[in-house]
Symmetry: D2
């Protein structure tokens, strides 16, 4: 393989630029040429494709977001979209593609591979909800941003004896809430993977103040409900504290990536190039037990594939689960 | 004067701890004893008063919030509340008080002085809306927090060609919006001190994208309207961009204070002690043209007083104004 | 076991306070009493021991350093020191101890256990050089601090086309250099675990500038040599670039711990209490493959012990090794 | 004036990019064309000159360093160098120049103006040692970086009861030391503008520990002596504490600029364009008492000029002075 391309797709995440840089530099190191594709699959279809040089990614490792831009492009789920994209790849002499993004992006990579263009998926999302990897690129940075925000909220909350609901991102996963919550010393952490009883929650808030706490911080994963909804429920269940809601929002998607995210992204980016060099595609790179691994994107659970087809419907073979040991841990040390 | 006390009142602000520390250390340096009063005027009335030692404020300079806690206590506007507070001060042998907080806190300081207990006000609020000072304690930190948040939002906003409304704090003042907006290179800054035309705003957004911008960031002071309200107006006026709202919220009130806030707070705290030492009260400390100044809290405009009484109603003599040169500046360099 | 104590020993590390907090909270959760010992083994011998309450560790999770102070105390390697310490433990009714620190601290924990006082070691050091764990408490924060510093140095280095040697900590281990170096996009990383050729290094610097680089950043682990020594070698080998040295120094030991360090420290602290509750001692807690593990401190390699005795000399059974895959990675993507 | 250029000269400083951006945007707003000159006066002479567009400075406001690069170029002090530079300016049709840098850069601007090319100087340096302005671009960021470093050092220093000498930058000025020192709650601040007695210093360290301090932090401006030299003097004068030296070094020159530096740089950049638009040159922009001011670079003290000629030698009319009120303040509140 002499010429490959790289794109980012879906929601952006800190560390995507570090991954792109590693793809470019490693490919050049291996004697390949690299092209960037702007705006994900949309840009592929539109032919928004351009050569990338080693110097062109200088200084990008520390920048949040993705300098290749990202976009959602549902048309790529259709054959027509895929063929249009492939036509553009052929026009530029591109033989393989690295796709950085979430689950949806992986499916596009699978299709390209099926059409004879090996494509490798890298897990780029802050939510840490992608199968086949212990950690996604961007997760550590999002946790860090959320933690710094909660640290700030704790200052003001302690000054006024206030209860705060801090709503963090994570889609259907509670990982950001769990890590940022434990890190911040949250009094309660609510995640979609674990039910909670609003009456117990209110009792725990009251107990906290009775036992001399100066604040009560509840970290809420967006996958449970919104902060406003929770506030309503808490009040309805008898909370009489000075209650505020803070929704951290989009700050969690940006920012200079942490050391961990930069290293992870660099490592995964280089691995993707190695796989393409061997002519392999249809694989997703992950980190598992501190080592890089790759899994077939589509196949049977026995093969270790991330997804399988069940009567034409995509099924996740081994869905991501939050670390409930950490959930339990916080219960025990937040007293 | 041999024994003074210090309290924080109203909304908390980063740097209040640095001011308390300076009051304590400077008072001890001057041979005085210092007491802390918890929870502002409420704690004064309740007798929540305790001695503070030099070592007791060690390490506090870098902490956000206020370790003396704060509270709103409207009862102190009444004579009864004031007398109850004074009784407690007498009980502890306290002869003068430093009050760190906003406008409301100043009025309490005025009353104490009238009752024979000299009290000095220090401007502690993130909003920068206090008369008699160019900058308030906490403002620089709030601007810094808002700026860092907008920097992060710009990352994700550029990656997706999005328009973002970022709502920042400031009550009726646009200062946080102005400084954070210019610092972040915002495309538009909306402040209560200056009208805007929603049609022009929408035209400017469209123009931006036409001219090759990858994002459009509107920094909105909460004194204008909420982010959600503005979003509705913009959409109604024909905006067709991918529009999001981010309300930064309470993170702006916390966090370790910036160098500037720590220096300002330390300087003002020490000055308050000097004034009490001279037996002076009813004054507010400010910074004007890089020098510390003090102004009578109540009196005539001619005397340089911050407030005057007009038929028993408190009137602000020389209300704070946002720096409209900065507003104009951003208009010119955001193209 | 109804009463335990916790101490920190050796060099301090960010996250030690988070670990102490978890020990305290978890012990109280399990119905135990907890005592803090100031200044490590020195304080144990001196009887500097005091009860810790749940509220007493509030707000500590975000603070760098150790609020129990630390000290080196070689006298504890002698039987006399150990017996003096045990006498103090008995006086306070303490039945088990959690020791947070480095290798030397583990040996003290082993001795206490042998004398009938179960003690558990937690790996607290920035250097990541402790056996029995993939990561130590404080490592991620030190990497983060080093990375932020190198990011800053890159700014000024690019502005002036300069070569920078940045000397980072790590004692005999290259881990901080590796992670911070990859994260910063360093041009070269020099670690004690891997030889380097100064002529190749100089050739690579020259090549970089010839290929259009605006700077050249060499991250140097202190275990290799000092920055000044390397500068001399490079100049002697013919480097003609504008070369500067920056030794990051003690900033790497402080700072608010990262999310990852806070979570790791909390998790390990709680686990130490569980082990003591079961009456177990002489163990060190580690994290391996994302799960907590515990290993005998002293014993045979076959038992999985960290250290063994060879003719009375302590031997490390399975010394920590730097991840050379990361070393190779940087070689390939720094071009 | 229809076409201007901008360059950065001397040591780089955070905020230079923000100033360049403002020059570019404001010039375009005023209907002018703007060119960038790489590597300061060296690039001017070498013809390293290129057009800058509005989009070309997008995202630069938050970046440290200078994307136009900087260099020292003593040859520009000679007529020959000046004429060579002017030839290049003429070739590109450039009629006026904005020079961002330190004192030396101002002199070049003066020469260009004398030769008929109006040039405006902006104070870009971290040292805050430029005449004609209360603050320089980059100073607030350098103070912030130094403060964050000292905060970290305090953590580790408190954990071990250590004395730390922290050497900060500032050339001949003590401003960085003063502001960072007060902000960090330093025990002692040593600046070139104020003598100190090493015996008093040692007595104060001893006193501190006797009075229960857990650390002693001495912030030392590089203009006094090096940290190593001070350590030697202190030891010779009888200090028996655990003394360490940390030289912060080049991290102080980099980093994303603070809000204050970004606003100041933006404001000054726009003002420089206004002055050029009026055909004015030979002026330096400053901020004084919160307002922008401009002063003749060369002339008599009576005219308010920054420098005058005394028998052909350049004399500073009104040299920068450190704020000794702040020095005194720290003496009083560091007890």
């Amino acid at each position: 393989m002499k010429r490959i391309a790289v794109l980012t797709s879906g929601g952006d995440a800190p560390g995507m630029n570090a991954a792109i840089r590693a793809v470019v530099r490693k490919a050049i190191y291996e004697g390949m040429e690299v092209f960037g594709i702007n705006y994900g699959y949309a840009g592929m279809v539109a032919g928004d494709i351009f050569p990338l040089a080693s110097r062109g990614v200088g200084g990008k490792i520390s920048q949040g977001g993705t300098f290749l831009y990202s976009a959602r492009f549902p048309e790529f789920a259709e054959l027509e979209g895929q063929l249009a994209g492939i036509e553009q790849l052929k026009k530029h002499g591109i033989e393989g593609v690295v796709v950085i993004g979430g689950d949806g992006s992986y499916h596009g990579a699978m299709r390209l591979t099926e059409h004879g263009f090996p494509a490798i998926g890298l897990p780029g999302t802050i939510d840490n909800d992608i199968v086949g990897t212990d950690y996604t690129i961007g997760f550590d940075t999002a946790v860090t941003t959320a933690l710094e925000a909660i640290d700030k909220i704790r200052d003001t909350s302690s000054s006024h004896k206030r209860t705060f609901i801090v709503e963090v991102m994570g889609r259907h996963a509670g990982d950001i809430a769990l890590w940022a919550g434990i890190g911040a010393g949250a009094d309660e952490i609510l995640i979609p993977e674990q039910d909670f009883d609003v009456n117990e929650l209110v009792a725990s808030i009251k107990n906290g103040y009775k036992n001399g706490k100066n604040h009560n911080i509840i970290v809420l994963a967006e996958g449970v409900m919104t902060g406003a909804e929770l506030a309503e429920k808490i009040k309805a269940a008898g909370d009489d504290s000075d209650l505020r809601v803070s929704t951290l929002g989009h700050i969690q998607r940006g920012g200079t990536p942490t050391a961990r995210d930069r290293v992870l992204a660099s490592w995964m980016g280089a691995r993707a190039v190695e796989l393409l060099k061997e002519g392999r595609g249809g694989l997703a790179v992950g980190i598992h037990n501190e080592k890089l691994v790759e899994s077939p994107i589509l196949g049977t659970a026995e093969e270790g594939a991330l997804f399988s087809l069940d009567n034409g419907k995509i099924v996740v073979n081994n869905p991501h689960k939050a670390n409930l040991d950490l959930y339990k841990l916080n219960k025990e040390i937040s007293s």
